[in-house]
Each structure stands twice: as C-alpha cells, then as structure tokens.
C-alpha cells in the first residue's frame, strides 16, 4: 500500500531522471535476472567498486562476483521466497582483481513486465573498511586476551564502587581462585589481604582514586590453600572529565620468592652489621668496598670514610708491592689466617687476627676478611706469661727452700745426733762430755739462728703485696751510719756520699734500712788487708729507676767463678771470715719485693760495686699536661 503511494508520488518524474537515479547513484547498484542470474544493468559506482566494465558485467551472472564457497548459498537464497524488499545481509564479493569485498546487500523486486524475465534491483553497501577494522579489533582483542592469559601477572579492573569487574585467569595460578569466584564475590580480593596489610589499602585507596598516577603496593594475601603470598600491585585510576574515578586497572604479581630472598638478605645484613667481629671486603686493587659497623667502630672511621680508603691505608707498613704479593698468595690459597696490626683513624694500633676468604663474584674477584681484635688475648697471654713467671719464681723459692732445709737445717741436726751418740752415759765425769755439751750448745744455737734467718726471708717473700711508700734514701742512710758509727770510724778511712742525682725511691723503709746495713757491713767485713777501706755511696738515674751504688775497694769476688750463686742463700765466698751467707740473698729478696733488682760488679782483690735499682714515684711536673687532662 505504502509502496504504491510512493510509486504514485514519483510517477510524475520524467523517465530519464529515474535513469539518472540509477546511473549516478553513489551506491553500487545493479539489476539482475532472478532466473538466469545474469546482470541486466550496472551503475557507475558498481563498475568503480568491482573493477569490471559495464560490458563485462552484462556478460556475467551474480555468482561470478562471489567466491566459490558462497555460490550455493546464493542459489538457495535466489530460489527462496523473498520479500519484495529484502535485506539479505552481509556477503563476501570478489573484485575483478580477486580481492575480497565485504558488502551489505539490499534488493528490491522490480515490477514484472510482460515478456521480460523477473528482475531485482540490488544495492551493495561496501563494508570492507569497517569489516577490516572489526577484524583487526577482534584480532587485537584476542591478542590482548592471549597476553593476559599468558603473562604471570594477574590483571584486574575495579569499578567506581571498588567491585571487581575483570580479573585475568592467572589468578587461578597465583591464588587458586577462579575469575568466576572473584566475579561472584566482588570484594573477595580485599578480604584475602592479610589483616595487617589492609591498613595499607585503606591508606592508599583515597590517593589512588583521585590521581591518574601509577601506585605500587606490596602486601600479603592468603591463597585458597591458606598459604600466605606476597604480591606487588601496580594500579592506576581512570578518571572521567570531572576527575571522578570510574575504574581502577592494575596488575598483581607474586613476589613471595623475592620477598623471601629479601628477608634472607636482610637477615644476613642484620647479622653482619651487628656482629662483634669486624668485616671488610676489598677489591683486587686494595680498595675497600664494604665494611660492617664493627669495622667502623674498630678503626674509628665513618663508613663513607672507609669506603674511600684502601687496605694499605689501614695496614701500617704495607705497600702496593706487598699488597699485590699478598693477593697472589691469597689467590693460591683461597683462605688465609694471620695476625697483623691495623691502624685506626686516631693512629692507634690494634693487634688483630685476620681470616681472609677469596671470592669470585661476577667478573670481579674480591676478598672478605673477618677481623678479630686480639689485644685482650695478647694481654691475657702476657698475664699468663707473667703468671707463669711468678709460678716459676715461687717454684725456684720452694726448691731453694727445700735445699736449705735439706742442708742448713739438717746439718746441725746431724751434729746433734752425732754428738749425743758420743756422749758418755756410763761415765758422766768423762772430761769429753763437757766438750760435747759445749758443742751441742753451739750447734743448737746455729740451728736456732738458721731457723730465724729462714723465717726472716719467708716473711719478706710473703710480704710481696706490701705497700710501697716514698723513702728518703739519704735519711735512711744517715740512720744506718749512726748505728755503725763505731765500726765505720774504726775501719773506713773514707766514706764519700752523694745523693745529688736523687734520693727519693718507692720502697719499704725496713728493707731499705736492711739493704744499707748489709752492704756497708759487707764492705767492712770483706775489706782488703792491704789498703785502707774506702766506701763510695751515690745514686744515678737509669731508665726510670733510681740506682743506688755502694762501691768498696775490698777483697772483691771472682764473678766468673761465683757469679751464678752470689745472691744464693747460705753462700759464702771468703775463707776465714765470719758470715752465714744470708745477707746478699736477703738483699735480693727485699729489692725484688719492692719491684727492683740488684746487680754486682767486682774484680777479685780490687773491690765490689753493688747496684740496687729502686722504683721511683712519677713526679707530677714530669707528666705531660695532655695526659693530666
């Protein structure tokens, strides 16, 4: 009906104008015989699109412009009952040169004219460009999907309500949940985040939502197995023109392994930094490449300062040549232990034990050294050595004491035994008995004296801890001189005394008195009969000790023969002269107790010089001001 009305409306248009509508129509058009399928008419647009001339078209059927695969379909369509106006849809056509065209076909039946075959007018809309674009889009989409499916990251999108709208299938691999599970429970993702890390999201989300920058979050999440995983998420909000967030796209990557490695590294670093041993890494050229805190502390440098130095700078006496030599030795041995000295920033030297290890890391070779301070060990060793010395000294004393007991105590006892055996018990009036009694008396007296001497010596030795005080040598000497005034005035023709070099020493007054007394008495006792006795007493400073020298011109001692035992107990050197051989041993013991020592110089028949070394108290004005501060 309506169609008829249109026809009526256009019936007034002249015939040739209709012809123009067809020929000049910008859409490709043709008319074909619905029985023979022959082209009956084609317009210019069709000629242009398909590449055939109008004459060529008129020799062809509509199947000739179709690929073989569609020809059967065309035949079915044409033989089917169609509407007058039929939209047959999209088809593939071929140009003359064989390229494919994607066309949307609409046809309209032409009014039947008697004696003429049934015809249809066809309009082809060229869709090729759009179709190709669609195809490319589909391809791109497939490509993107393939990437999403194959990359290790999970890719996701959240909408403006923070509901998950897309998640790539990789989520199954990482978390064990399928995309469908995430779509069903829009907040599942957030609920899987470790409770302690949710704050991170709560803090970051407001910032993410208003920015188009990329954000990065590292957090823990619970997989379906209950296993905790570390993820890193990078995401960016998509903002609309008003700056409102419409979507958040992002990715999440499993960094559990990296986190574990980081944790292990952090743990190693932590241990290295907090170790009490100093660690130092150096390159082949001797440059220090890393140090730990203990190394900085030991050497008194800041870390940056040390990293600007070479091993040579902290090892006194090492030059380039020695370093290279060491390195070569090092390469051969892989690891090396030695003791050396390192110089701190303030110049202080630290004795250390170094354990070197050699490594190749990448292209570089370097050495790792663990450095242990051995100052304390050295001190302990020194203490042990001095302890040993002390024990050896005590042992020597004990040995000597045993010897004295054996000889000097047993001798009078043996005499007593012998004398009592000779005593005539039968005849008490035997004149021999009186002699024996006299000898017995003398022997017991000797025994008593010996025991007293031993007691004195033991008392001095056990008084090793006696406190030392400042003693005026001159004053003690004056006292001794007074007590010996009788003998001195009788024998000593000359007594020269000079304390100008120093007279204050650290000592025990009783010992100093005894030393003066013994040495002066000895000088008198062992004077030469050939000349008058001369005694010189003076002091000299020697290496921080004050040396008291008492020189005489007496008999002297043959040091070559007697030197080794001159200070031994119960040693006597001169026949015919009364003496027990206790004095010199006593002096030695007393001097050593006061932290000094005694020496003797002597030539037989010429005289002796006894040198007694005393400790001296440090004087305040001799101490450098820097130390007093």
């Amino acid at each position: 009906m309506r169609l008829n009305a249109v026809e009526e409306k256009f019936s007034s248009i002249p015939e040739e104008d209709y012809r123009l509508f067809f020929d000049c129509n910008p859409l490709p058009m043709w008319v074909f015989d619905t029985v023979s399928l022959q082209f009956l008419m084609v317009n210019a647009a069709a000629v242009k699109l398909y590449g055939y001339s109008a004459e060529e078209f008129l020799t062809m059927t509509i199947n000739d412009i179709r690929p073989q695969s569609q020809r059967l379909q065309v035949l079915q369509l044409v033989s089917s009952k169609r509407d007058v106006l039929n939209h047959s849809g999209e088809w593939v056509h071929l140009k003359k040169d064989g390229t494919e065209l994607f066309v949307d076909i609409v046809s309209h039946e032409l009014a039947a004219i008697a004696g003429k075959p049934a015809r249809r007018l066809v309009v082809a809309h060229d869709m090729t460009t759009r179709k190709l674009a669609e195809q490319q889009l589909a391809q791109a989409e497939q490509y993107a999907r393939s990437i999403l499916n194959n990359i290790v990251e999970v890719v996701f999108s959240f909408n403006d309500k923070m509901e998950m709208t897309y998640i790539s299938p990789q989520c199954q691999v990482i978390l064990g949940y399928s995309p469908e599970q995430f779509y069903a429970d829009k907040y599942l993702w957030f609920n899987l985040v470790h409770p302690q890390d949710r704050a991170l999201f709560e803090e970051s989300l407001p910032k993410i939502k208003v920015s188009s920058q990329q954000f990065q979050l590292e957090y823990r999440i619970k997989a379906v197995t209950g296993e905790e995983k570390w993820l890193i998420t990078r995401c960016t909000a998509q903002l609309n023109e008003q700056g409102r967030m419409v979507r958040i796209d992002g990715s999440a990557n499993d960094i559990t392994r990296r986190k574990m490695m980081e944790e292990r590294l952090r743990f190693s670093d932590f241990s290295i930094e907090r170790a009490s041993e100093a660690y130092l890494w150096a390159r082949e050229d001797g440059k220090i490449m890393r140090v730990n805190r203990a190394a900085c502390y030991l050497l008194g440098y800041q870390e940056e300062e040390l990293l600007a130095l070479r091993v040579l700078d902290i090892t006194p006496g090492m030059d380039d040549q020695e370093w290279q030599q060491r390195w070569a030795e090092f390469l051969g041995q892989k690891s090396l232990n030695f003791e050396t000295v390192l110089k701190a920033k303030n110049g202080q030297l630290h004795p250390v034990e170094v354990h070197l290890n050699y490594f190749s890391f990448g292209q570089e070779t370097f050495c790792f050294s663990s450095i242990r301070q051995i100052a304390e060990r050295k001190q302990a060793e020194a203490e042990r050595a001095s302890f040993h010395q002390e024990i050896a000294r005590q042992n020597e004393h004990l040995r000597q004491f045993a010897y004295i007991v054996s000889h000097n105590l047993r001798a009078p006892v043996a005499n007593i035994v012998g004398l009592t055996k000779l005593y005539n018990h039968q005849n008490l009036a035997d004149p021999m008995n009186a002699v024996l009694l006299d000898k017995l008396q003398r022997t017991t007296h000797n025994l008593d004296a010996t025991i007293k001497d031993l007691n004195d010596i033991l008392t001095i030795r056990s008084g090793a801890e006696k406190e030392l005080e400042n003693i005026d040598l001159e004053r003690v000497f004056t006292e001794v001189k007074e007590s010996l005034s009788g003998q001195l005035s009788k024998y000593a023709s000359k007594l020269a005394v000079d304390f100008s070099a120093g007279k204050w020493v650290l000592g025990v007054k009783g010992y100093v008195h005894s030393i003066f007394l013994n040495l002066i008495t000895n000088a008198i006792k062992y004077q030469s009969t050939d000349r008058f006795l001369e005694i010189h007493i003076y002091t000299v400073f020697s290496n921080g000790f004050l040396c008291l020298q008492i020189q005489d011109n007496g008999l002297g001692i043959d040091l070559e023969k007697q030197g080794a035992k001159i200070f031994g107990l119960y040693r006597r050197f001169h026949p015919h002269i009364e003496g027990k051989g206790v004095g010199l041993h006593m002096i030695k013991t007393q001097v050593e107790t006061m932290g000094g020592w005694v020496e003797v110089e002597s030539a037989e028949l010429q005289g002796s010089t006894f040198k007694v070394y005393f400790q001296v108290a440090p004087k305040n004005d001799e101490i450098p001001a820097s130390l007093l501060n």
């Binding site: 010897y403 054996s406 000889h407 000097n408 001798a411 043996a414 005499n415 012998g418």
Partner: protein, 136 residues
Amino acid sequence: MTKYQRVFLIDDDEIHNFLCESVIKSQQFAAKVNSFLWAEEALDALNGMVKDAPQDFPEIIFLDINMPGMDGWEFIEEYKKLPLELTGKCLLFVLSSAVDKNDITHARNLSEVNDFFSKPLTTDILQIISEQYSEL
C-alpha cells in the same frame, strides 16, 4: 778394724769435723786425721803432698758438698786433675747433710766418688768402709 794412715775431712762445719775426728779416733780407724774448713785449703795440702810427700797422700777423704767458696763438686773437678797413681789408691766419700735426691744421685754417678753417706759420720759407716774396701 783396718787402720788407715791418713784421713782428710773437708767440711766447713767445725763441729762436724770435731765429731768425725772423735768417732775416727774412738774406733782407731786412722792414725792421722786432717780437718779442713775450706776445700781450697785441702786442695793446697794435696797438691803439696803430690809435690813433696806422696807417701803422705791420704787413703780416705770425707768431703762435704755444700761449702762456701769452693764447694764439693768443684773440689772433685780439681781432684780429678791430681796424678792417678795417688788418687787411685785414695777412697773419696761424699759426706753430706743433704737428703736431696739429686745430690745423692749426682755423687754416686761420679767415678771419683766411692760412695755417698749422710751425716753424721757414725761407727757403722766406718764399719762398712773397712769391710767393703779392706782389700785396698
């Protein structure tokens, strides 16, 4: 008991020398006893005899070890240097108060020392000597 012509006592202990002389005399062990407080003096006397009166060389020497000046060991070193025809006929005994094991061992190891006795000298010791060394 065998009578010896001459015995030397070398000991810085005067009382012990007196003791020895008394015991020796009471046992009629020797005709003559010479006591020396210093080993140096005894050595001088021996040297004098070597030179002037070898027939007076003692047959027995009692020697103390621990003495001032020259001690017993040093005396033995010097004694070795004397002519063997004289020292070979002389018996040298160390007579010491020592109960020190090292001293005793050392004395017994010296070929010049015939035996080591602990002080005091008693009749028993003289008995042992005259029995064990009677062939001389």
